[in-house]
């Protein structure tokens, strides 16, 4: 079982061209928790996700997920530890259908061999059907049935965000990182996202780490919030505590000036 792993980030730092995009960031996310990261644009939120995904190499610090030292793994092995994610600027496979996208979500759990696949051996067919069943559960959960055979390029924005969430869920993660799941959505769609996140947490038991600007959504689903600015942690605590924090208010005021 992958449930029960704690994500521990310690003293994480990375520099881009002499500037600290993330500096000395430490936090823990317990199993089953919903942890939100907030902060003004350019604060380093997405960079933290990219570090955990092993897309960037940190200059210092450590990232532990349960018994795994993530810094010892290449990016494509991270999902095997039980971590899946979405991207701020949706990264779907544009020319493929929704179904094909979701099946790639199963990739980490499928054992492919090019020659067996070329011949479409009976066991390849059986595996396809088995994984297809899992995908179908996620399609039902996120109400994507009517889009199943559409190409991503033909989908409206809101549906794409949804498909990306579904694709991440297809990996059956223990921990899911969501980079601005509600950005660009209208209020009705944002409410839907709120409900789905609750479902994902309760029904699937997935730990959630999310970057989000919509403070209503954060207040609604998050157990704890971390506020950062200029790559540094300003505050970690309950949504209300963080909202009241002077440094946090300062950071947001400073931005709107």
């Amino acid at each position: 079982m992958t449930a029960g792993r704690t994500l521990s980030v310690r003293n994480l730092s990375i520099m881009f061209g002499g500037v600290h995009a993330v500096e000395d960031v430490s936090f823990d996310v317990s199993p089953g928790e919903v942890f939100a990261i907030i902060g003004p644009n350019g604060a380093g939120k997405s960079t933290i996700f990219n570090l955990i995904s092993r897309l960037y190499e940190p200059s210092a610090g450590s990232i532990q997920f349960g018994e795994y030292d993530l810094l010892g793994l290449p990016a494509h092995r991270v999902v095997d530890t039980g971590i899946a994610r979405t991207f701020q600027n949706i990264e779907l496979f544009e020319q493929s259908t929704v179904l094909q996208n979701l099946l790639v979500g199963r990739h980490s759990r499928m054992s492919g061999n090019a020659l067996c696949d070329f011949a479409f051996l009976p066991r390849v067919r059986r595996a396809e059907i088995r994984h297809r069943r899992k995908v179908e559960d996620i399609i039902d959960l996120l109400e994507l049935a009517q889009y199943r055979d559409e190409r991503i390029a033909d989908l409206p924005y809101g549906a794409r965000k949804n498909v990306e969430l579904a694709r991440a869920l297809c990996a059956e993660p223990a921990l899911l990182m969501l980079d601005e799941p509600a950005s660009g959505l209208n209020t009705e769609e944002t409410d839907d996202v709120g409900f789905w996140l609750e479902d994902i947490k309760h029904d699937l038991g997935v730990t959630l780490v999310m970057v989000e600007h919509d403070m209503n959504l954060v207040g609604q689903v998050a157990d704890r919030v971390m506020a950062i600015n200029d790559g540094r942690v300003l505050a970690i605590g309950s949504p209300d505590d963080v909202r009241e924090n002077e440094d946090v208010q300062q950071a947001y005021l400073g931005m709107t000036e």
Partner: protein, 358 residues
């Protein structure tokens, strides 16, 4: 418009879910099977050659169209396939074993090329593959003891399982057999993890990685499969040419393969076949052009590459989805007549949905 109601997961795994598609593909297959009864030997040979180029086109399509990795070096794999097979055969290796060995060797060389190129993108990849082609072309010319050098190499007669296949129809059926194998195998790839990982690498390396796709390995595999299939086309091509010379496998030949897949429609297997048909008709068009153009222009030596380049550019600018994409639009036009709107191809199925769903 046709709406498919699915009752089983199997329906998505099947190749041709629509009746119309089944009939069309069935007709093509029937024609191909009956061709020796319908065509004279000369045209049968031309049709066989078309199939060989369709195989090579599918090889390049998997790499460039489906995985997004440009290669201007694929003529090298045709050359490696043709030469390796001819050399093995002339050393007494039976056809069936030679095909397997040649395809495997071509695939391995492709994987090695893919490995060194897996960190490269776009322009650099194009240059690297071009350099590879020049290396192979030079090697085929200089390694005289093995390849016969620039003087050329005769290809032993076609003999399968000890039976001599001297007639045009016999050779044609051999080409057709391998065409079926390759088309089926390529189609299989794209309903399984291997092919999906290729498409994923093409559309977003970033999210492919985060979903567990080893991007470097996917590229190496794509190069390997692509090179193996193109090498197989080289084997069949050798028997059509009967006499090999290094300059057959030149940049122009690579350009021809690229032309096929761009014109046919990147990212689709039928596209490679459409492309092969077009490229086969090109010499006819070319000889026609030479007649109608003023001699100063028509007799120019570089007319062929110029035309190839021009067609590639025109298609990339005006019809990036190629002939296959145009065909899909045309079919949609007839299926929805008289309700067709230009924009509706893109968002066609949205009309089926309620306002809320959109």
């Amino acid at each position: 418009m046709q709406v498919l109601f699915k009752t089983r997961y199997e329906d998505d795994i099947r190749f041709l879910p629509k009746t119309g598609e089944k009939i069309r593909v069935g007709l093509v297959v029937a024609f191909l099977l009956a061709a020796p009864l319908l065509l004279q030997d000369y045209y049968l040979g031309e049709l066989g050659l078309l199939l060989v180029y369709a195989i090579a086109g599918i090889g390049l399509m998997i790499l460039t169209g489906h995985t997004g990795q440009v290669s201007f070096g694929h003529a090298a794999f045709l050359g490696i396939g043709a030469y390796c097979h001819a050399i093995l055969m002339s050393h007494g290796v039976p056809f069936s074993l030679s095909v397997v060995l040649t395809t495997a060797l071509s695939g391995l060389i492709g994987m090695a090329l893919g490995r060194s190129a897996s960190k490269m993108h776009g322009f650099y990849l194009a240059i690297a593959t071009l350099a590879f082609l020049m290396l192979v072309e030079t090697l085929l010319g200089e390694w005289e003891s093995m390849t016969g050098g620039y003087g050329g190499l005769a290809v032993p007669g076609l003999k399968v399982f000890g039976i001599s296949l001297a007639s045009a129809w016999q050779q044609y059926y051999l080409d057709l057999f391998f065409t079926f194998v390759v088309v089926l195998g390529a189609a299989n790839l794209f309903r399984t993890p291997t092919g999906r990982s290729f498409l994923a690498v093409r559309d977003s390396e970033l999210s492919a990685r985060c979903l567990g796709v080893n991007v470097e390995w996917a590229k190496i595999q794509a190069f390997g499969i692509s090179a193996a299939i193109t090498g197989l086309a080289g084997v069949l091509l050798a028997h059509h040419l009967a006499y090999l010379a290094p300059d057959v496998f030149s940049v122009l030949e690579s350009l021809k393969l690229m032309l096929m897949i761009v014109v046919g429609g990147l990212g689709s297997i039928p596209g490679a076949i459409f492309g092969a048909i077009l490229v086969s008709l090109l010499p006819v068009a070319l000889s026609f052009l030479k007649d109608v153009l003023p001699p100063a222009l028509g007799q120019q030596a570089g007319l062929e590459p110029l035309l190839f380049g021009l067609i590639i550019v025109i298609f990339i600018v005006f019809e990036p989805q190629g002939i296959y994409g145009r065909w899909m639009k045309l079919r949609f036009f007839f299926e929805t007549f008289p309700y067709y709107r230009k924009s509706s191809f893109v968002r066609q199925k949205s009309y089926l949905k309620t306002e809320r769903m959109r």
